[in-house]
Symmetry: none
Subunit: 219 residues, 4 copies
DNA sequence: CATGAATGAGAATTCATTCAT
DNA sequence: GATGAATGAATTCTCATTCAT
């Protein structure tokens, strides 16, 4: 989600637009349009217009509409996963890692709501027909979180009697639904960016807190 | 999800098909087809063929394709919500209510995976364009769960320092992702029905347990 | 080319248009348009307009454009072959059979130039990509003519020292080129229908004559 | 078909590719691709790739796709016609000339099946829309053959009572169909090059023989 | 000359919805 | 109620041709 978006074959001449530049513009435009209209509601012509390029050029860079979504997913999700990987491999205690992941996910929604919308809502749609790679890519997120859990269990920071995968689903599912409720407008945050940030931070903290300490009062 | 499927105007004459019978067949067929191909991928003709009726007859019972999905959602989801309502209004302690809700959701997936698939995956899709009633309907589930949480807090069974809505998102989100991982095939359960039931029961128990007692080891 | 065009599933109700009626109209329109513009130059919308029906109805009866051509070929060519079969199986001497075949082919061009144009010019086009059935269908014409030759040889009416297949190619090829030269406008016949008919008859007679007696003067 | 391929403005500098060299490569590539995919099925990019040159360069040498076909036709057909001209103007008897023409045509198919395929099948296609020059060019072949016939008639070698044009159609049509049956795979010759050559030679001889002496047994 | 990115008109095909029987 | 033929707007994808570098 952060991280340099690796440009595939940029020659990076100083005078201007390169191959991958247009490609990236198409991808950005596509995410915007997908987020606005949904995958099936998005017309290729919309994407072209949003990108400010000619219609047919889209097909110069992508075989078809499906490949646009797949590429967008692959690259953005790749960036996102890289950050999760970095967090998972860090030396911090499990609790801190989980806070970081939660903050990453929830903040991503604040900074790039389009991307999150598409990653969260649109991918499932196509993935059931198409690429199992995409499903596997989603699976990689779970693996990283499950790994954080497992290492936390081994370090004695987390209960060892819960399947790491189930724990992972609880954690990610909780975050996912918090986001979805925001995306779908079930939760409405009034106020400006500051208020939104505050809500996200509080939500992240609360999710981690419930996940770690549970809802039952401690003696 | 359980409960009688409310037939609107069944006359139940002994000699054969009645209005609501055909209507129900269309709805069942639609869910099957939506689950198989997704809402946009499903053709009205597919639904008609699956229901074993003539093409145009669908339009006697439903104004359009969207209404088919809406009706399927409304009726099936209504059945489901009725059960959740009953659980929420019962006199049991919060923990027991949550176990019941978790078991209800996870078992629904085992008994009627098609329905769950559609409810979980397809509704989000169309809901952003179409009926806000559907969103509100989903919201009613959250309300019930939040109510269970709130009453648990008032009864001293649950920590009072967590927003019931956030707690609700954590709980439902966790269940949702467990289901989704099953639906998407991220989690594969080998063995027969008994094994599946066992997995679901364990998962339900684990989700509730993590939700209530947290992942941090207690002293 | 003559003969009743077998209507596939006509129910023949007295009040009007039946399924196969529309189908036949599309086929007729297609042949007209193909003859005018060529297969690739013909738009499906042209065919629909020529047939006086809605655009999409074409796709009710035919899977795609290619299938229209294939069907047109199959049915018209089938009619044509039936007549050739009848000639070949008749009890006349080979010479008479060949005159009949030549007259059939050349007259077909006079009566239904569109059909001949399409059969002669357009089929080769697609046949190289698509249906080997079409190639085999053309082959059946050759088989019938070769059979006439073979039986003529066995009856002592024709020289036995020439491969019947080669003889068949000479005969059909000769007729084909006469037609093609008419279709392409290399040969222009002035005057009305009577003149055209006269030319065709003379050409048919001449082709058979050359085929049978050769160009070398007889002692 | 044999003969030097007339290069328009060859400079033949020793250091490498010249204008006409690239041009010729495009033409060769085009024929290969036309033969493989048909005129309409051939993309300009296919031709460029086959020729091993850049996409847009094709448009330096040819105004458009049609002109590529026209040029290929013109130049290759021109070479072919030159040979036919030479044969027609020779001092041999008609029979010998016809044998030469038949051998020329059939052997061309053996040596350069691509060229023949395109000349035979593709030209008709475009000729009805495009250049009447091409039709006239095809007409020139007929003229030469008709001339051979006419001079044979005048010399007393051939029957005078047959229209030279009809005789010409019989002869060329026969050859054309022998070729077409080879091109379409209706006639399959097993064995290697030697067998093919033998078949062609026999076929050429047989066609001429039938054309000259007819199929009826002589007393 | 050479390159290949950019353009956009054009065509096939799909499919929800209507309607005559 | 039941049927499925008929409609046509909407959209994706193709590909010849142009043009900036």
């Amino acid at each position: 989600m952060t991280g340099a978006m690796a440009s595939q074959e940029t020659t990076d001449r100083e005078w201007g637009k390169t191959r991958s530049d247009k490609r990236a513009r198409i991808l950005d435009a596509a995410i915007t349009v997908f987020a606005r209209s949904g995958y099936h509601g998005a017309r290729v012509s919309d994407i072209a217009r949003e990108a400010g390029i000619a219609y047919g050029l889209v097909y110069h860079y992508f075989r078809n509409k499906e490949e646009i979504l797949a590429s967008a997913f692959e690259e953005r999700w790749g960036d996102f996963l890289a950050v999760v990987d970095a967090i998972a491999q860090g030396g911090q205690p499990a609790r801190q890692k989980l806070v970081s992941v939660a903050a990453l996910i929830l903040n991503a929604d604040r900074v790039r709501p389009d991307w999150v919308k598409v990653l969260v809502l649109e991918i499932q749609r196509s993935s059931r027909f198409a690429a199992p790679e995409q499903i596997r890519a989603v699976g990689r997120l779970f693996e990283q979180v499950a790994r954080i859990v497992r290492e936390g269990q081994e370090a004695g920071d987390l209960r060892p009697d819960v399947d790491p995968n189930v724990a992972c689903f609880v954690f990610v599912g909780a975050l996912d639904l918090v986001i979805t409720s925001l995306v779908l407008g079930l939760t409405v945050i009034e106020g400006g960016d500051a208020q939104q940030r505050a809500y996200h931070d509080r939500a992240a903290a609360a999710v981690v807190d419930v996940f770690l300490r549970g809802m039952e009062p401690r003696a």
